[in-house]
């Protein structure tokens, strides 16, 4: 299991795909953090919830860690390396578990880089514009750790999505369509249900309080439950499906 996880981590590191995803993430977070930090009118950055909004822009890293997780599984199917992978380790549930672990570890790196960058820019914008920082230490810790945990879980969730869908384009389109469109519509129209969906669970996990989000602990449990549910579904399918 540890050996397989090391193999999976090498797969992540040994192509340029991951580097591309990381650079994309950095560019996007840089852009969004600078835009909201510098262009938002000062009165809209004073409340603690406004500041949480600004300082959590880095949690967009979750989209990218999910992409990395998806790629870790779907490139194997796309390029056929799944065959040697399963020939070397025919116990598919163990391969999947190793990929989930690798997705989680990669997610931690994405979270540290992404949220670290977003927080630094947001904090610097507030300081530079002379706006008082309104979050206490506990709130700040929840924001940072919540973002980190959320982004890490998205890495594993991406592995689950990839293992269920297997088709690379399908998995990526599915992720973006759900995360950027469908879930926002769901939350906008039926917030009592939408707050249980994974993207909004991550918002709750970081201590965001606006609208109808779940409290942090419950939100964390919900996001973890999503990850486990996808992992179990992926394991059940992996055991049954033939590899062409």
């Amino acid at each position: 299991m540890i050996a397989q996880t090391r193999a999976e981590l090498l797969k992540i590191r040994s192509t340029r795909t991951t580097l591309g995803i990381v650079l994309g993430m950095i560019a996007l977070i840089l852009l969004f953090s600078l835009l909201s930090g510098l262009l938002t009118k000062a009165p809209n950055l004073t409340s603690s919830e406004d500041q949480r909004g600004l300082l959590s822009v880095g949690s967009t890293a979750g989209v990218f860690s999910a992409l990395a997780g998806i790629m870790l599984v779907t490139s194997e199917y796309r390029f056929g390396t799944i065959r040697p992978t399963f020939l070397f380790n025919p116990r598919r549930s163990r391969v999947l578990a190793a990929k989930l672990a690798a997705g989680l570890l990669a997610g931690i790196v994405f979270g540290v880089v992404g949220e670290g960058l977003g927080f630094a820019i947001g904090y610097a914008s507030l300081a530079g514009r002379g706006i008082d920082y309104n979050l206490d230490a506990a709130q700040t810790a929840l924001l940072l750790l919540g973002a980190l945990a959320g982004v890490a879980l998205w890495g594993a969730l991406g592995v689950g999505i990839g293992a269920i869908v297997r088709n690379q384009v399908g998995a990526i389109v599915g992720l973006l369509a759900w995360g950027l469109i469908a879930e926002n519509l769901l939350f906008a129209f039926v917030p009592s249900v939408g707050r249980f969906a994974p993207v909004h669970a991550q918002d709750g996990l970081m201590g965001l309080t606006s609208r109808h989000l779940l409290p942090a602990a419950a939100a964390g449990a919900v996001l973890l439950a999503w990850t486990i549910a996808f992992a179990l579904a992926a394991a059940a399918l992996a055991a049954r499906r033939d590899v062409s």
């Binding site: 193999a7 040994s14 033939d242």
Partner: protein
Amino acid sequence: MAAPAVVSDGLSKRFGSVLAVDSLSFALAPGTITGFLGPNGAGKTTTLRMLLGLARPSSGSALVFGRPYSELDGAALQVGAVLEATDFHPGRTGRNHLRMLSRAAELPDSRVDEVLRLVELDVAADRRVKGYSLGMRQRLGLAAALLGDPELLILDEPANGLDPEGVRWLRDFLRAFAAGNRTVLISSHVLAEVAQTVDKVLIINRGKLVVESSLEQLTARVGGSVRVRTPERTKLEQALARERIEATPINDHTLVVHGASSERVGDLAFAAGVPVHELVAEGSSLEDVFLELTSEPQQ
């Protein structure tokens, strides 16, 4: 006899209404090289996928060293296999492809260097696979299969894309491999590709086993034929028919005679007073036998 390396027992695979593999039973003895032959679409790859735990049999079983592949411990140390010559991430170097596999099998990185040298790919090892020729990819696949120094090697169409030199290299390699009482199963749709390599052949057609024999037995089935050119074709045909020898006219003055030696045909022609302008013994090739065995039955 030592326990067989592979036992297939009534192995079948159904895709919808198509029975791709139909009750296939065979065993591979250690130390042998077996050619797994059949035309494209005969069910060879599907059979190999079931042997290797990638596909589940619809019925029957396939055991490798006495167990289903999916239950082998340290599978890579017992079995090496290459199913597709293209199973690489194009953006990953050859060396990293092998490293990720050696890590999964808990093999040292030094083993990666060894197999790279073995397949003569050490110079290209740090280039991305997208720049590899098909022959280099074949060798990289083989290197991956050899990482665990396995007892059984299963190769699907290994000669595809190899140049003649590569084919000879592969043949010598497999001979040396099997000499250590290790077992090889190689599939091909071209008998000639493996005829000089294998001890035994399994020929399948439409998912069914049609021949299981040693290469010598198969060669013995090869009947020679004799091509005769004569201005008096009909007269020769009649002379042959009296001796119950079968002959097929090719054109007005050429005849192909089956099941008789060139001496016999020459003597008969002389006795019948038929002038012979050309007399050629044609050894019908193994390939002809193979094609005959695997051709579609005429409806």
